[in-house]
């Protein structure tokens, strides 16, 4: 048969295999993968390029789905999934499987020993100073209960295959193994982009691993239907992708430390529905940043008291905190000893020779052979920085040589190994590149190894020797299926994935959205009000008029917390006050500070905030930062311009939220925050006017028809004109601002919307119509509608508006109690003096 001139086999014509796993030096593929290459052979270069593009596109799409909204776009090169899978030979896999389970069990016994009797240290099989000085060894955790003494049921191990075809362990990952999501997704993407390949080899499926992990999590609690959560920090794109994917595949909620609360040695998750007890935590954050009380000097927030919940056996953490002692690279040197000590078996897998630089002689050896060595910190760099913070300067990850002199105890060295290669499709041809494997083991009732693993492959030739988990390319990793009928998954892979259970939204997210809404509304209000007031031209008013109008300014300044409520005299320099009200971010309630707070809130929930909303908000913040850098240089005209800009941009942000965000419960809280803030603001301004100092002004306003300024201030001029079609009368203005449901600035309008938003929350639909908070709001709303303006204005009236304002302000605490902090649900306990002996 005549081949097309550009078919795949010809792409191998110039292929130069180097220690190649899949392509023999003789110029033929390895026998057990011959069919794979035959299939490849049916495709032309163009077709392969097309498949490769499909893979890139799939990865990009996935990246867009899972990326945290970030200033840096997700680099789709990061994924770099190759179209040719790596196929591990059956005999090798068989050995790997047994060796990995042996290792995972042995090091688990080691962790349990270190947190228990420390037999291995007493018997000096491992030097005690390595373990006792390990920052991952936490004395606080000694004696904590761990189910079946199995600290790390989920294990990852990094391996290289050397030139002789032997596998060697490079590193352990017993604390928070990373990368499973990449394995599962790579398989899915390759099956979609290149299904033909899957017909050639009987591939063991990887997807069941997630189900097995979910089962293991459930089995970690003695409770019948345990509530499990994934605890993470979601700090960068890479981990956010993995964590959100895993949470979804495992069908559990993804939470951050602030979502959890400890009470009487039990852990609860705060949701807008209330508190739900948590039984199992799938931990994705480093041990020492999990509890600021147990780890006193931790730089991270964590969940105060969590460790004591573990101590009392009320929650299981997977992997157990403290498991990181098995990741200390300095003990890799003793791997064989550890395996023999606990398993009483010969180690099945070799470990790359590792030199502990804490030891003077080993350090000397390392110095003499530096050219052929890779220096590594004893834990990965990220973890090291968490332990040692800024005081530790491990210069750059690339060059640790200075650290060899300053912190030898924190370094290990491994000789450069020559990893095996595999073909990689690169720019239209196959090139030989080194590969490295991260394998995953699950020590459930029956230990399993994820069939395959995460294969990283160098993209550039220069990376060939220094592969890490961060290195360029990924290869789907195939191992032969052990049972019959295991391959049927490939065809199904194109179907949409099942959607996990819906969780009630976390209180933290709701609260953050609520504050974003409030801050944004406040920023807009202050900016608009100052702009309106400026039109009154303070400078051209006589001293008498200044005294009269001052209460208006004061109301704005007071509502912005910028001016003490008790101070009744105008400041000598009003323009300065105005500038501070807008630009001074150190003043807690200036426009600038409000915008910053809104941005900070948004930054904490980047997975919820849409890029459009984030961008609009960020632009507003950047502009204010620009101008605020030199506030003294800002002229009056410029300040008005900025105020106008803030008003317009705030509206753009609200619009972006409305138009681009999912209208779920989180979004409702954004609106709720805005309405509450607006209602309070309207009341604050009115209250200032009818207060004792405002009265004189009131008379004058009505007389001089300057009520228009007041209406502008409250953003209600149009509403007034269209409602009354008359000149402004004070009584009508009051009615319009309190009880008119159609006027967006009216208190009643805000309360009505607030009530509807609350009633629309799914939880209330579930609970039925009875909700005391909603009823309370309705009562206040009624009061607003029926407040007689004459009574409000009557000189002898008691503080009607003040009462109203206090009631509306009190709604904040009610919202907080009901949806955010749940502090109201706790009745105070009985007398609790404890006594001993």
């Amino acid at each position: 048969m005549q081949r097309r001139p550009d078919n795949a086999r010809d792409l191998f014509a110039n292929y130069q295999p180097l220690r190649d796993e899949m392509w023999m030096a003789s110029g033929q593929p390895r026998a057990d993968v011959a069919k794979l290459f035959e299939t490849l052979d049916r495709f032309s270069r163009e077709e392969l390029l097309d498949r490769s593009t499909r893979l890139t596109r799939a990865a990009r799409e996935l990246g867009a789905h899972f990326a945290v909204v970030d200033d840096q776009p997700v680099d789709d090169q990061e994924w770099g999934l190759d179209l040719l899978p790596r196929v591990i030979a059956p005999a090798e896999w068989n050995l790997l499987e047994r060796g990995l389970i042996q290792r995972a069990k042995a090091f688990n016994a080691y962790i349990a020993d270190i947190y228990g009797a420390q037999r291995i240290l007493h018997e000096r099989a491992v030097p005690h100073e390595i373990v006792l000085s390990d920052p991952a060894f936490h004395r606080q955790l000694i004696g904590l209960p761990v189910r079946d003494n199995l600290y790390a049921p989920l294990v990852a191990v990094d391996l290289v295959r050397d030139s002789a075809g032997g596998w060697q362990v490079l590193e352990n990952h017993f604390s928070t193994p990373f990368g499973i999501a990449y394995v599962l997704q790579s398989r899915r993407m390759l099956a979609q982009a290149f299904p033909e390949l899957f017909a050639t080899v009987d591939v063991a499926p990887v997807a069941p691993f997630a189900a097995q992990l979910a089962e293991l999590l459930r089995a970690s609690s003695p409770r019948p239907n345990p509530h499990a959560v994934l605890l993470c920090r979601g700090e960068d794109n890479q981990s956010y992708f993995e964590e959100s994917f895993l949470a979804r595949s495992l069908g559990i909620a993804m939470v951050q430390p602030g979502d959890l609360l400890v009470r009487e040695s039990r852990v609860f998750i705060k949701t807008i529905r209330g508190l739900e007890q948590v039984d199992v935590i799938y931990r994705r954050i480093e041990s020492s940043s999990i509890d600021p009380i147990a780890f006193g000097q931790s730089r991270f927030q964590g969940v105060p008291g969590l460790v004591n919940c573990v101590r009392k056996g009320n929650v299981a953490i997977i992997n157990a905190i403290g498991s990181g002692v098995a990741d200390n690279r300095a003990i890799l040197r003793y791997s064989d000893r550890i395996i023999m000590y606990y398993m009483h078996e010969k180690p099945l897998l070799k470990t790359v020779p590792t030199f502990t630089c804490r030891d003077v002689d080993q350090a000397a050896h390392v110095r003499h052979n530096l050219a052929n060595m890779v220096l590594k910190p004893i834990h990965d760099l990220n973890t090291m920085q968490k332990y040692y913070g800024k005081q530790l300067n491990l210069s750059s990850a690339r060059d640790l040589r200075p650290a060899l002199e300053n912190h030898p105890d924190l370094l290990v060295a491994q000789p450069l190994i020559e990893p095996s290669h595999a073909p990689r499709f690169h720019e239209g041809e196959f090139v030989s590149r080194s590969v490295f494997l991260r394998a995953f083991i699950l020590l459930g009732e029956t230990p399993v190894v994820l069939p395959g693993g995460l294969t990283r492959q160098a993209i550039d030739r220069s990376e060939n020797q220094r592969l890490t988990i961060m290195t360029g390319g990924i290869k789907d990793t195939w191992v032969p299926a052990s049972g019959p009928g295991a391959t049927t998954f490939a065809a199904a892979a194109a179907a949409p994935e099942a959607i996990g259970e819906e969780f009630s939204i976390g209180s933290r997210v709701a609260e953050t959205m609520y504050w974003m809404g409030r801050y944004l509304e406040r920023a807009e209000n202050i900016a608009r009000q100052l702009n309106t007031l400026d039109a009154l031209r303070w400078d051209s008013l006589g001293p008498e008029a200044q005294r009269l109008y001052w209460p208006l300014w004061r109301a704005v300044a007071v509502s912005a917390d910028q001016w003490p409520r008790t101070n009744i005299d105008p400041p000598p320099d009003l323009p300065d006050l105005n500038r501070a009200l807008v630009l001074d971010h150190t003043q807690p309630a200036s426009v600038h500070a409000c915008v910053r707070s809104a941005i900070n809130n948004a930054a904490g929930i980047r997975d919820i905030v849409t890029p459009e909303l984030w961008q609009a908000l960020n632009q507003l913040g950047l502009r204010l930062m620009d101008v605020g850098a030199r506030p003294k240089n800002v002229s009056r005209a410029r300040l008005r311009e900025i105020c106008q800009f803030v008003v317009e941009e705030s509206q753009r942000v609200s619009g972006a939220a409305e138009r681009t965000m999912l209208h779920d419960e989180a979004w409702q809280f954004f609106r709720i925050g805005g309405w509450l803030e607006r209602a309070i603001d309207t009341l604050a301004i009115l209250q200032a006017l009818v207060g004792p100092e405002g009265r004189q002004l009131l008379g004058r306003l009505e007389h001089e028809t300057d009520l228009i300024a007041l209406l502008r201030l409250l953003c209600s001029l149009d509403a007034y004109r269209r409602t009354y079609r008359s000149r402004a009368y004070l009584g009508r203005v009051i009615s319009l601002m309190l009880g008119h449901a159609g006027n967006p600035s009216a208190v009643s309008h805000c309360l009505t919307h607030l009530r509807h938003a609350l009633a629309n929350l799914q939880i209330h639909r579930d609970l039925g119509p009875a909700n005391p908070l909603i009823d309370e709001i309705a009562v206040i709303d009624e009061a607003c509608k029926h407040l007689d303006p004459e009574k409000v204005l009557a000189a002898d009236s008691s503080d009607l508006l003040g009462d109203l304002r206090r009631q509306v302000e009190a709604l904040h605490q009610r919202l907080e109690d009901t949806y955010f902090s749940h502090q109201h649900t706790f009745a105070k306990g009985e007398q609790t003096t404890i006594e001993f002996r």
Partner: protein, 313 residues
Amino acid sequence: MRFRVTHRTEYAYVAPASESFAELRVWPRDTQTQKVLARQLTIEPRVPVDNYVDYFGNHVEFFSVPFRHQRLAVEASAEVETYPAPDLREQLEVNVAEARQIVHSQMYKLFDFLQPSDTVPLGDVLRPLKQRFFDPGAPLGESLLKLNRFIHSDFAYSPGVTDISTPLTKVIQQRRGVCQDFAHLMLSVLRTAGIPARYVSGYIEHFDPEKTDPALVGAAASHAWVEVFLPGGEWYGLDPTNNQAAGERHVVTAVGRDYHDVAPMRGTYKGAHDQRLQVIVMLKRQALNGTGESHTNNPFPMEQSQQQTQQIN
């Protein structure tokens, strides 16, 4: 001697706090030289308290206040009987070189008490002292007392100049501090010299009611000193703040590698950052009337103890 110790910590928050959680180490230890006869802990607002024993053998109590509160008061009281220290003369006569050798054979057990920490850096930090305290041939006891005396005479006791975040280098430079600074300094010298030592927190009787001794100095809230591991396996208490060995008038609460292992109260809460903290420690010698059992029930009702409270801080 028999003492009644009351340690009251009160936080008044400007705005209500919520989600409080705290861990306490205010439960005196049972040791060779002291015995806890009775103990009581009261938390206001009233919440359940749980406890455990930590790695260093200290009793730890913890609680959460999961509702809004304007103030939090923790009052720990104990009745403790102290006894004279055992005769350690023989162990203290060993010379420094021998002591080091014995310690070296037990390195694994003593490892923690020879290591630097953020609070207790070793080595170079001590250079400005321009002193060597441990001559290999000199008796250990003599050398320790020399060190104790040096810190007492060269460093001024001045409350308010330092706090727990003040680094040791600054304490050495200023030549002033309070008991915890002196304890950390002493630990640094001892560990640098290869002599295992640990941090002790507790209380001290300020003045002897039976004598007209000059007042002993204690820190405002509680006291701190060190314990040195002696070749015979005993821990020997040294109080550099008062230039003496720890004795019957010292009550030990907790031991650890440095202050951070024994902080009397460590907690978090949600709310405004403004708070007023008041700590009152009262240590009162009791008459030894031999009717021990009567104390086991409720030896000192709260009202009474409040009347007797004298404010130290």
